[in-house]
Symmetry: C3
Subunit: 203 residues, 3 copies
Amino acid sequence: MSLLLALDLVGVFAFAVDGALTAVRAARLDLFGVITLGMITALGGGIVRDILLGDLPPATFSDYRYLLVAASGGLVAFTWRLERLASAMTVLDAAGLGLFAVTGASKALEFGLGPLQAVILGGITGVGGGTLRDMFIARVPTILTTGLYAVPALLGATITVVADQLGVWSAPAAVVAALACFSLRMAGVRWDWHAPRAIGWQD
Amino acid sequence: MSLLLALDLVGVFAFAVDGALTAVRAARLDLFGVITLGMITALGGGIVRDILLGDLPPATFSDYRYLLVAASGGLVAFTWRLERLASAMTVLDAAGLGLFAVTGASKALEFGLGPLQAVILGGITGVGGGTLRDMFIARVPTILTTGLYAVPALLGATITVVADQLGVWSAPAAVVAALACFSLRMAGVRWDWHAPRAIGWQD
Amino acid sequence: MSLLLALDLVGVFAFAVDGALTAVRAARLDLFGVITLGMITALGGGIVRDILLGDLPPATFSDYRYLLVAASGGLVAFTWRLERLASAMTVLDAAGLGLFAVTGASKALEFGLGPLQAVILGGITGVGGGTLRDMFIARVPTILTTGLYAVPALLGATITVVADQLGVWSAPAAVVAALACFSLRMAGVRWDWHAPRAIGWQD
């Protein structure tokens, strides 16, 4: 199994559990709704990435493992001791964010995109699943309301692209890039970092 | 006219009327809004299908009949005796669901996708139009809130794929598959079937 | 720089400022949210156009100028005297609408689509950015609630297609087409024109 595929599948699982927990807690959906939102969250980022790269049908459809891992994540979240996992939603979302930012940037480079474009596409891949999840439950997406959500994804993608340009791209480099994104995101949540708002504004 | 095209156009008309009625009743839009939401509902599933299959531009854009049928459906809903059709919204949505599930799965097989992928793509094609309709009027999509919405679509797609694998794919088989989806969806609405919700959950 | 690219970049800038102002006023987002919504609004229409045409990766990703202009528009809106620009939101949105309707129709013709399809694709390109903007902040899109939003875009696209068919397509023709769309949109806003609603409807 290639490095890209392995990282992708771990990201799919993390986002599937996260999306399914959101479905249970935020929207109180039934079993089918839980699995559906889990799969949308898990597969959304990769599908958006593959559409933008023109790699169609998306990997999700040419490799059944994506569908199985995504569905399993939703089932696990629904049937296991959900209460214990609840505090893990932010952690899972941050993990998926980092993994997909790396695979998105890496796949974009493989497809011949320039460095700046690969960073942006990595960022989109990272935030795509969570953004679709929020739009499906009619909630303003995290990417708009939380300062440090896109930035960590762009950081992970940037490290990926720099490592590639320096010729040191490898499994450890991928883990470092994903961990950097994950850590920055978690630090942002922990200390509630956000960017300045426009001041002196009157409606 | 091919079987796939004929079923697609009937599905387009059903969804166009359904989307237009939703625009009138749920969102009280004006004539342009009604026709626009009708067209989004009617064409959304097929466009998503064709994007995921990489069959671009989508059939909608290479064959003007899709646009004309979709616009006609919206106009009909707006100008005729709307009150009598109101109870028909669920019926029209279920009809579009079944027809698109079948054409989605069938087209996926034509494009060489595996059986599992064809079933999923059929399901996405079936639920796509109604899901876009709901997202446009800022409503949580039916697919998340109603247990038996994705499952009937997956059933119709599965019958399509099985018939194809058995070598008995034909117009009658397509009608049977669409009817099976339609009947299961209507039964689910009639008796309010839904899947279990997570229990013992505390916020 | 080609005509298409120049018009596209002006449209990108107008929509980026418009989206960023919406983020500040309607959703009170922080700096990252403002730039993100600005970029979604600015690049959304062109990305949807290129996906539907199968021209992937989208121009946005193969030409870094799109990203830079979009990000600059968001920054400008955030840092300059926002109050003075506030009344300009409708104007900027109308300008982007006209420019993208023209580039969308023109690019569709280049890719060999028929006249009717090129008009529709021009309309989708024009309204795409604003529609994504509204969906991201969980607001029913302008295209559904405002009668004269899609119609001006379709007018600009129609003039583009007619000029092309008559063999008089040129930079002045493009400006006329974009201005016609812009003027009709602004007139619709100024005098509050809208289409009839369905009457005698009871819930």
